[in-house]
């Protein structure tokens, strides 16, 4: 009889795995479809069949279609997908490492640091790629500062890191406010404000080529060690007893997440709510096991920011900052999620 139960449970496990693989397949298909549709969306709209033909490098396509697709839309769409994936996977990883469902990719101060770096570069009148570089570097500086401060507490607990992150975030936010005050209100100030609200308006193919390898490498790294996040989330001592070097794996996850988030924020500005909400959507679909959760979360994040960015560039003739849209969509959706999943946190 016992063997029967085991066999039955394993059967259930297998059907769970099939459900997961099906979800993965469907999501990849949806991503591909939305990718093609998005290439056609915009002021100059292109039908789907033409888009596909252009992508397949077929000869009888007008130059203008090729230009719109390859020079304007493709970099932006790839950036949107990568950044959505990056923010989601780093948010989900942080939630596991910090054993806290309310943290996001920005908890250690990467966004505030990046905001400060960008504001400095803008005030100094540097060009766009320097703004990105400053944002990237100061994002990493902020996280390093959080690490350093948490060390002062002589405790290696995840909570002290989160507290240090809040301290550093507030500090850099204050500096950003200071810079806004002294910035030239006609030119520099609007630029800073728009940067802080996030946009993919100015993304170029060059930006994508520079940052995509970093983001992809980080995402792959996190995916490779994803099962271990389960164990870290069970608690420090428990993970140690299971042979996991908690400090080391936490360090690896934080470094990977920080570098990819800083790279993402560098080219997009600050886009909130994705790193917090999307992992919860993933949990609703496939449960909390990081083995399944992380791939699903990554894909949903890519889809989400792609759709949001499509809205940002097509709803009005101007551009709506992404940070505003993700918050407008994210907040009510998060409230709905908490109600729907009857979360007991």
């Amino acid at each position: 009889m016992g063997v029967d139960v085991v066999a039955k449970q394993l059967e259930a496990l297998k059907s769970g795995n099939i459900a997961y693989h099906n979800a993965l397949l469907v999501l990849v298909a949806v991503t591909l479809f939305l990718f093609l549709v998005s290439l056609g969306l915009g002021r100059y709209s292109i039908p789907l069949d033409k888009t596909v033909k252009a992508l397949l490098m077929q000869p009888n396509i007008e130059q203008v279609v090729k230009d719109v697709i390859f020079k304007i839309r493709l970099p932006r769409i790839i950036a949107a997908m990568l950044i959505g994936a990056t923010l989601s996977i780093s948010g989900a990883s942080f939630q596991g490492v910090f054993k806290n469902p309310l943290v996001s990719s920005y908890i250690l101060g990467v966004a505030s640091g990046a905001g400060f770096g960008a504001a400095v570069a803008i005030i100094l009148g540097l060009n766009m790629s320097m703004v990105q570089l400053f944002a990237f570097l100061f994002g990493i500086v902020a996280v390093a500062a959080s690490f350093g401060i948490s060390k002062l507490y002589r405790s290696s607990s995840a909570l002290s890191l989160v507290l240090a992150g809040i301290i550093v975030s507030s500090f850099f936010s204050a500096l950003v406010s200071l810079l806004k005050c002294i910035a030239d209100p006609r030119q520099k100030l609007p630029e800073i404000v728009f940067w802080l609200m996030g946009s993919l308006n100015t993304v170029t193919a060059e930006d994508v080529l520079k940052t995509a390898p970093v983001m992809i490498a980080g995402i792959v790294g996190l995916l490779l060690i994803r099962w271990r996040i389960n164990i870290v989330s069970m608690g420090e001592e428990e993970a140690q007893a299971l042979g996991v070097d908690v400090k080391k794996i936490r360090g690896i996850i934080i470094v990977l997440s920080t570098v990819i988030t800083a790279a993402a924020v560098g080219i997009s500005g600050i886009i909130g709510w994705i790193g917090l909400v999307i992992p919860h959507v993933g949990r609703m679909l496939v449960g909390p096991d990081y083995k399944k959760l992380l791939p699903i979360t990554t894909i949903i994040g890519a889809i989400y920011l792609l759709v949001v960015d499509d809205c940002a560039r097509t709803i009005t003739t101007g551009e709506i900052p992404l940070g505003i849209l993700t918050a407008l969509v994210g907040t009510p959706f998060f409230a709905y999620l908490l109600w729907k999943s009857k979360v007991s946190w």
Binding site: L13, R228, E237, G243, V244, D245, R283
Partner: protein
């Protein structure tokens, strides 16, 4: 596993325990008894190198545990914490399979064989019907059993169980003690802490009594669990009674009726 002159202090001023010496052989079952706050849990954590001794050493097969890597150590020593709750609602099977972590490389995830092993252990503990239930939504006792399944899935040589019977109902307590006995005959050593001297009698195992920072006595339960010793560590009068029908001993506290009078 040999423990020599073990000493530990959280604040480097007062020792939680000192001069602890004992050894655990293959097939041994050792029950650590002691009043609340006597350092039982701290001692177990030192044995598995979660906490590091401030003096003395813990040796596993003649190697200091501090010289072993976490992974090496956790293949040999399994540790069950006293209380535990998880944040994320992992299924019981997902929790049990985490015991495979020491046997997997950093970049791999458990395979079907690992899940099967975990499932078999759930079955052995009588909770295979809970396999797909969320770990956060089951009772404390069921969680305890799920965690025991996890340490068994770890397949260690030595099991360190911190109050494994807490939260368990009467039947499950007895079943768990029987399981400990069974495991010890398959080559495992089990060290567990308890608040019930009766548990040691049921297993007729070795007993270590902790009191006032020291092990005051280590040996067979028959010789260690005397009325005088129990009085000494718990501060109450206890009668050790032999029950003829089951041929076993039990401890019965002697109530001082005068204390209850008005």
């Amino acid at each position: 596993m040999d423990i020599k002159n073990a000493k530990f202090s959280y604040d480097k001023k007062t020792n939680v325990f000192e001069e602890i010496n004992f050894s655990v052989q293959k097939n041994d079952v050792l029950c650590i008894l002691g009043p609340n706050g006597s350092g039982k849990t701290t001692l177990l954590k030192c044995l598995t190198n979660i906490l590091q001794l401030t003096g003395g050493e813990v040796c596993l097969h003649n190697k200091n545990v501090q010289s072993l890597s976490r992974q090496q150590l956790s293949k040999k020593v399994g540790y069950l914490p006293q209380t535990h709750s998880a944040l994320f609602p992992f299924s019981v099977l997902e929790v049990a399979v985490m015991g495979r972590a020491p046997h997997l490389t950093m970049m791999s995830a458990p395979t079907e064989a690992d899940y099967k092993l975990a499932q078999t252990n759930l079955e052995m503990l009588g909770i295979s019907h809970l396999a797909s239930r969320p770990y956060t939504k089951i009772s404390g006792g069921q969680r305890q059993l799920a965690l025991i399944a996890m340490v068994l899935t770890q397949q260690p040589d030595i099991l360190l169980l911190d109050e494994p019977t807490s939260h368990l109902d009467f039947g499950n307590q007895v079943r768990l003690l029987e399981l400990i006995q069974k495991l010890s005959t398959t080559g495992l050593s089990v060290v567990f802490t308890s608040h019930f001297p009766d548990h040691a009698f049921q297993l007729s195992c070795k007993v270590a009594l902790m009191n006032n920072k020291q092990l005051i006595n280590v040996g067979d339960c028959e010789t260690v669990l005397t009325e005088q010793n129990l009085k000494k560590i718990y501060g109450i009068d206890v009668k050790v009674v032999h029950v003829q029908t089951t041929d076993s001993k039990v401890c019965v506290p002697i109530r001082n009726k005068n204390n209850c009078a008005e």
